[in-house]
């Protein structure tokens, strides 16, 4: 459990006289502040948190033998647009797993990153999955059928026209829904779960059930926004109430994205779990036989309590504390920086080995991921835990369209989880597994941002950020543009604005955007509003362009001045100087530092020049009218020792880290140190290979 220290000296200690009265008043003010702060969470966030557009009541049963979830869904949908709507569109995500011709599988198999693993995962008949809508009917408030819409159902492919893709369905209503009116539908469906290799499905007796029910699209900006399921894309949905009854065989431990209201044993050897949650936009759940269940609690300074549940595989029992510590670190940091987690429960699922369900977020529930014998000092399972928990802010609450602006949640969340890891843990250490056991290289510290930069470097110019997720060049570019580049961009903005102002930007954006569907322009507006400046020059280059940031110290030189050679006209006479070896007086060095902008992106950049006597000179090269290079010259009695661009590492996007600094003198010892260490490895390599002699 985490409690916050309220600080010292807040007690009401009576000391008599004026002082006592002052303290007494001060105490009351403090108490009032305390009550105010405690209630501020509640007052700023009143139920309903969101506009409840898509509300689901579901009653389903899991057949663990056939890997089938079947049942009924009653959807109450509110038309919040200003149009009459005569057609409804639904995601049938599970049909992505139906055959090799679904858009999801087609795209995945073509992807170098995934293709091999997916081909292997789709080997057997029982591995495939699908969803069948058996019946869809319009019902009245009491649930009585008004019209059977089943015959109007049709699969559509709004993104690629692939006739085999059945992940989007449309239904024609007998009468359009007027603005502000609700429609209620009863849907009977059967979902065959796939062998889990990408987020959802089963492995032996482990079930992770996500994207599993007919889910209405979002009527957005005057039209349906209901994309097909793509290999490189996640999701988009409206908020609402989820009231779900899950019936599973006894012996299975169940976790879900909702509060457990009750559970009831049935005569047929099953148990029905009733989960309920408001103001969420998806519902995922898990059932498994090998979970250990741990409960904990996190308490915000406002007094808001979050009940934590950890469902962990028995073989990972020893990692319970590591999981929970990271879980709480995310709640604390995200809560402090952006806003408190408003729900009263949060579930972390440690998925089964080889399930492919790890590292995925859903409202109030998410999956982590680890392996046997994790390395001490590494941030596994911490990294994935923080990231996926963090998605309940960037995706869960700030519910942008992940199909169209994937970077807005993945990028924001990568940046936020890196900050959290930095705040809560020392830098991770490099480790490798030898014969199944980890060996930690304590000398090698890894900053999480390092990997983002390395990934970004592999394809910085593939795409621009602002593209639909499946339209990036390939899976690698999706990773770069949804995760790495936006995270680095946010780090860069933090560097330019400073932590305080940038922190205010993030908090303001979160507060404005939570429980809505923000677009990039909403974030840009917050940046402009909070800073009081127009930052379009920044975002135009980085969001709508694919050029790179690269500043370099190209050269430094220092040479003595005043050594005259040749004919000089001095005091009316022409004097010849042959050059003197020793100059009279103090020697002055003329030093030049040449800084180049190698990338096309222009950002304000600082340059630090350090002289041999320790003197430091800092220059700022403004982004406006920034030419390809700038030269700084100095005449000083000492030479330049080194120069470095962006000395504080503010420009996280700078793609070339090596060229950021230059020293006048070469250092040989570090290269010797690492070359000899490599040589010892190589000598041993030779001896090892001679084993075969």
């Amino acid at each position: 459990m985490v409690f916050y220290n309220l600080g010292k000296g807040n007690g009401l200690i009576a000391q008599g006289g004026k002082d006592m009265r002052r303290r007494w008043i001060g105490g009351w003010i403090f108490l009032l502040l305390l009550v105010f702060s405690a209630s501020s969470f509640a007052s700023s966030l009143q139920r309903p948190f969101a506009k409840r557009i898509a509300n689901y009541q579901m009653n389903v049963r899991l057949d663990v033998e056939k890997k089938i979830v079947s049942g009924t869904e009653v959807l109450t949908w509110l038309n919040t647009s200003k149009q009459n709507i005569g057609e409804l569109r639904f995601h049938l995500y599970m049909n992505a797993f139906k055959n090799t011709e679904s858009t999801f599988i087609r795209e995945g198999l073509r992807d170098v990153r995934r293709g091999r693993a997916w081909r292997r995962a789709l080997g057997k008949k029982e591995y495939w999955g699908y969803i069948d809508v058996k019946k869809i009917a319009l019902v009245d408030e009491t649930g009585k059928e008004i019209a059977d819409l089943t015959k109007t159902m049709a699969y559509i492919q709004p993104d690629d026209g692939n006739p085999y893709d059945q992940t989007v369905m449309k239904v024609i209503l007998p009468k359009p829904i007027a603005p502000g009116k609700k429609v209620k539908l009863k849907i009977d469906f059967v979902t065959k779960l796939p062998r889990c290799f990408s987020r959802t499905g089963w492995v032996r007796d482990f079930f992770y059930v996500a994207q599993w029910f007919p889910k209405i699209g979002v009527f957005y900006e005057g039209k349906w926004n209901c994309h097909q399921f793509h290999a490189n894309s996640e999701f988009f949905a409206d908020f609402g109430i989820y009231d779900v009854r899950l019936t599973v065989p006894k012996g299975y431990i169940v976790g879900a994205g909702g509060r457990l209201i009750d559970k009831k044993e049935n005569p047929d050897g099953t148990i029905t779990y009733h989960f309920y949650e408001e103001d969420i936009h998806d519902f995922a759940w898990t059932a498994g036989k090998h979970y250990l269940v741990y409960h904990d609690q996190f308490v915000y300074p406002s007094g808001h309590k979050v009940n934590l549940t950890l469902l962990i595989q028995k073989e990972h029992k020893s990692q319970k504390d590591r999981y929970l510590k990271a879980f709480k670190a995310a709640l604390k940091c995200y809560g402090t920086w952006f806003g408190e987690y408003p729900y009263d429960h949060f579930t972390l699922v440690d998925p089964a080995y080889g399930s492919g369900a790890g590292g995925m977020e859903y409202p109030t529930i998410f999956t982590g991921g680890t392996s046997l014998f994790p390395a001490k000092g590494s941030l596994s399972p911490e990294g994935v835990t923080i990231h996926e928990a963090g998605h309940n802010w960037w995706y869960g609450m700030v519910a942008n369209n992940e199909f169209e602006d994937a970077w807005l949640d993945e990028g924001f969340n990568s940046y936020s989880d890196e900050r959290t890891a930095d705040a809560a843990y020392p830098p991770g250490k490099l480790y490798r597994r030898y014969f199944g056991f980890p060996y930690v290289f304590n000398e090698v510290e890894i900053k999480r941002i390092d990997r983002q930069l390395a990934r970004y470097r592999t394809g910085a110019k593939y795409d621009i950020l602002s593209r639909f997720a499946w339209e990036y060049m390939n899976g690698s570019s999706y990773g770069i543009n949804a995760y790495s580049k936006p995270a680095l961009m946010l780090w860069t903005l933090r560097g330019l604005l400073g932590p305080e102002l940038e922190g205010k930007v993030m908090k303001t954006y979160f507060e404005r955007a939570r429980f809505t569907h923000p677009k990039p322009k909403d974030y840009f507006k917050v940046v402009n509003d909070v800073t009081g400046e127009d930052w379009s020059w920044f975002f135009n280059q980085l969001v709508y362009g694919s050029e790179i940031v690269d500043y370099s110290v190209a050269s430094i030189s220092s040479y003595p001045t005043g050594r005259k050679v040749g004919w000089f006209d001095e005091q009316g006479k022409r004097v010849f100087y042959a050059g003197q070896k020793k100059q009279k007086g103090k020697r002055i060095y003329h030093s030049t530092v040449l800084v180049r902008r190698i990338g096309e992106v222009r950002l304000p950049v600082e340059i630090l020049i350090v002289f041999e006597n320790g003197e430091k000179v800092k220059k700022v090269w403004d982004w406006k009218n920034q030419y390809r290079w700038v030269k700084f010259t100095f005449d000083k009695p000492v030479r330049v020792k080194y120069a470095v661009v962006d000395p504080e590492g503010k420009l996280a996007l700078d793609i070339d880290y090596i060229n950021n600094s230059l020293t006048r003198e070469e250092k040989k010892l570090p290269a010797f140190k690492w070359a000899y260490r490599w040589m010892i490895w190589f000598s041993h390599f030779l001896e090892t290979i001679s084993f075969f002699s």
């Binding site: 060996y439 190589f682 041993h684 075969f692």
Partner: protein, 312 residues
């Protein structure tokens, strides 16, 4: 002669031929230095005039490494932070189990193959010196042995591949079998256990083949035979006839080798190499480690030779 006696006698024999151990050590270091120089230049070129140099002296700049490795080609691409301390040998031992040498950079692999051929060449010299009456190292005797047995030992090497290659194939097959069988099991532990068993089996078989061919070489020198087929089969017979003892001796020598590695790993991890003196100390330790490995290589021959002579 028993295992311990052979072990002791082998050590004494190696001690008598310590000049040979130093010679082999010098050869190893000269070959390594051939690549050390371009590697040093490559690293110096990358960070010698950058502030990264200071960070690389104090520790390891992983940000630099990621960029360096993304751009590195050829020899430079073989640089990795895993060369630190125990990583230096864990990487190689692990590669031995997975045939990971095949994935090394071409230049590293080619030099490795050259060194392997050189080791085959030197094996004749080593055994010639060890089996001589005096047992003392002289270059003429050494190279006489090298030249005298090279072609025969080369044939033995090719024969040994007939055994080594199936060991790797078996290991890969069993590993994939385990992964396939337990892909749907939902728990990692069985995979880990079976993978560990496969690792142990792979090492056992690799060591067995190595031991058989060590005795084949020993027999070739001791008996002066010319048919490597015959010597291979006779060695198999010899090893299995004295299975407990041959295996015991081999593993006893193996334990000493592992101990040398462990000591090196421990000692190099005890101090930070941030100054010239500590770097020199690290270098000396590294060289002693390599010397220890070569000393053990000769010990394997001498102890097994002593054992063979005792059983003749």
């Amino acid at each position: 002669m028993g295992v311990i006696a052979s072990f002791k006698k082998g050590f004494a024999r190696t001690h008598r031929a310590k000049g040979m151990v130093f010679f082999l050590f010098i050869v190893n270091i000269i070959i390594s230095l051939l690549l050390f120089v371009p590697m040093y230049d490559s690293l110096k070129g990358s960070f010698g005039k950058r502030l990264i140099a200071d960070r690389m002296l104090k520790g390891f700049d992983y940000t630099w490494f990621l960029q360096f490795s993304q751009n590195a080609k050829g020899l430079a691409a073989s640089f990795k932070p895993e060369v630190i301390n125990a990583g230096a040998f864990l990487e190689n031992i692990s590669a031995l189990e997975r045939a990971g040498f095949l994935r090394e950079e071409a230049i590293v692999f080619m030099i490795g193959i050259f060194y392997l051929l050189l080791s085959i060449f030197f094996a004749g010299g080593i055994l010639n010196i060890l089996s001589s009456t005096e047992g003392k190292f002289s270059l003429s005797n050494f190279f006489a042995g090298c030249g005298g047995y090279f072609l025969r030992f080369l044939r033995l090497f090719f024969l040994s591949l007939i055994f080594f290659v199936p060991v790797y194939l078996l290991s890969f097959y069993l590993s994939s079998l385990v992964y396939m069988k337990y892909a749907d099991y939902g728990a990692e532990m069985p995979v880990f256990i079976f993978r560990t068993i496969i690792t142990a089996l792979t090492f056992f078989l690799l060591f067995l083949v190595d031991m058989i061919f060590d005795y084949a070489k020993i027999r070739t020198v001791a008996e002066g035979s010319r048919s490597m087929f015959v010597e291979t089969f006779r060695s198999i017979g010899f090893v299995f006839k004295n299975f407990g003892k041959t295996l015991g001796l081999y593993y006893l020598l193996g334990v000493v080798s592992v101990a040398i590695m462990a000591i090196y790993g421990f000692l190099t991890g005890c101090f930070h190499q941030t100054s010239l003196s500590s770097i020199i100390l690290g270098l000396v330790l590294g060289l002693l480690f390599i010397l220890g490995m070569i000393w053990m290589k000769v010990n394997f021959y001498s102890a097994q030779l002593s054992f063979y002579e005792g059983r003749r």
